[in-house]
């Protein structure tokens, strides 16, 4: 290997590293605002993956383009390239490096996952013994923290949220900022998914079971909750607002809502189903939407 080659490789790697670091920084900008404590951890991880990915993608693309632009020959050239069947050292190198890299990435992801301490779905095996109270490996560190509990109900195609202390049922999910939240989620009919992009969190909700889910919102604002598991005809419009607010306004809202009588919530799926004018091209008979939930607090739109 002569000096020119070594300098060439050095410059190439330096450019790749610079580009990777830059993309790693940009990666944060591709994601929604960071509205939960968990989202920050995930974004850091994503940034790292993006940087490493950029290095690999640009590295390989660069080599391929370099080869294409320097090694192409005319179609009348009938010569062969050198007969290189392989290189054991090189092959060991490009087996070992990816192997170490994936172990590193897996370990790093594992660490992030533990820090998130998402109290995810419980072990299926234990599910029926004590719904809602199954301890997880992560629960221990969280015990001292006060937790806000909210019940989440999903059905085709509406969300509703019940606050067990006051009995308030709401069409929006109101949460106090900077406080750990535990959701007790159930579905009526099919599998739904709880997904707030700004929280970076997603959990399927199985019918006839309570699925527990924990996280901490850290940024005030109104975010969108989607159904993340395909649930049939009106899947796309099964959304709800998540209102993260200061503890004071959260308490005030709860008190106000408790004084309201329960009325049917507005429900886009139900109104689209009943409103024949919205009929578009084609289509078949569909499962009828469940009646809108009765709520004390209507959606704030």
């Amino acid at each position: 290997m002569n000096l020119k080659t070594i300098v060439g490789i050095g410059v190439y790697v330096a450019v790749l590293i610079a580009a990777s670091i830059w993309v790693g920084q940009q990666a944060y900008g591709w994601l929604p605002p960071q509205a939960s404590a968990e989202s920050m951890l995930i974004d850091d991880l994503f940034s790292l993956f993006s940087a490493i990915g950029t290095f690999i993608l640009l590295g390989i693309t660069g080599l391929v383009l370099y080869t294409v632009f320097t090694q192409s020959v005319s179609r009348f050239d009938t010569s062969d390239g050198p007969h290189m069947e392989g290189n054991v050292k090189l092959e060991i190198f490009w087996t070992a490096v990816p192997l170490l890299l994936v172990f590193f990435l897996a370990a790093y992801s594992y660490q992030t996952y533990q820090q998130m301490a998402v109290r995810g779905p419980m072990d299926l095996v234990h599910l029926h013994h004590m719904p809602g109270t199954t301890p997880t490996a992560y629960a221990a560190d969280l015990e001292p923290e006060p937790v806000e509990e909210v019940e989440v109900y999903a059905k085709q195609w509406a969300w509703s949220f019940r606050y067990p202390d006051t009995g308030v049922v709401s069409a929006d999910l109101h949460l106090p900022v900077n406080k750990r939240v535990r959701l007790l989620m159930t579905a009526d009919d099919v599998i739904h998914g709880f997904y707030v992009p700004a929280f970076r969190l997603k959990q399927d909700i199985l019918p006839k079971r309570t699925t527990e889910f924990e996280f901490t919102p850290v940024r005030e604002g109104i975010y969108r909750l989607n159904d993340s598991q395909f649930s049939g005809t009106y899947f796309a419009i099964m959304t709800a607002n998540v209102v993260v607010e200061s503890p004071d306004s959260y308490r005030q809202w709860l008190a106000r809502a408790a004084a309201q009588p329960a009325v049917p919530a507005e429900n886009p799926a139900y109104s689209e189903y009943t409103n024949k004018r919205l009929k578009r091209f084609g289509g078949w008979k569909t499962i009828a939407p469940a009646p809108p939930p009765l709520v004390n607090a209507l959606a704030e739109r």
């Binding site: 299926l124 095996v125 599910l127 029926h128």
Partner: protein, 205 residues
């Protein structure tokens, strides 16, 4: 056709033999293909078994209401008959290898009869059960597993029938008897599956 193979290289020395094997050995191909087919088929059963174990260990109300369990003694007799039939089939196969067609036919017929006995026993058991196919996951899995296996037993009996019929065609088994070997293998397979199934469903209640 001018074949100009030199005999100098060692590679070529094996060539005629290999080429010969591959052109002629249709029976070997069939047997090989049948074995990998059976291996693949066993994955369906393995999937059902895995599903059965998973569901049984996680479902709170496993048995349908009013059902206390399955009666084991009659199916146990059935099991003994089916397992024994595998040995009979083995001796039938051996008789054929010794070109003793009469013994082969008798033993073969006995295997079929034992298989049929098993099927009839299954049918009687089904008719006496107080739960149906759509009674919970247990009902579904019970009928699915025993039914799917029963279908295989039936297939085995039909295959044996065809092989028996073929034995009456003169000189049919002169050039080997892949069909009988394959059917016999299939029968052992059906047997082994039943043993696992019996343990899962009847013993582990």
């Amino acid at each position: 056709m001018d074949s100009s193979i030199s005999t100098e290289k060692p590679d070529v020395a094996i060539a005629p033999h290999a080429a010969h094997a591959h052109e002629e050995d249709h029976a070997g191909n069939s047997m090989f293909g049948f074995i990998i087919f059976l291996l693949s088929e066993s994955v369906i059963f393995l999937s059902f078994f895995a599903g059965y174990i998973l569901v049984k260990t996680t479902t709170p109300n496993w048995l349908p209401p009013g059902v206390s369990g399955l009666e084991v003694s009659k199916p146990a007799i059935n099991t003994v008959v089916l397992v024994a039939s595998s040995f009979v089939a083995y001796f039938a196969e051996r008789a054929l290898k010794k070109e003793n067609l009469l013994v082969f036919r008798l033993l073969w017929l006995l295997t079929m009869a034992m298989g049929a006995y098993f099927l009839v026993g299954q049918a009687i058991e089904w008719s006496e059960l107080e739960f149906g196919f759509s009674d919970g996951v247990f009902g579904g899995l019970f009928y699915l597993l025993t039914g799917f296996h029963g279908l295989h037993v039936l297939t085995g009996i039909l295959l044996m029938g065809i092989m028996l019929f073929k034995s009456f065609v003169p000189n049919n088994y002169a050039g080997g008897h892949t069909g009988v070997d394959a059917t016999s293998l299939f029968w052992h397979f059906v047997d082994v599956i039943w043993i696992i199934l019996f343990i899962l469903i009847y013993i582990w209640q």
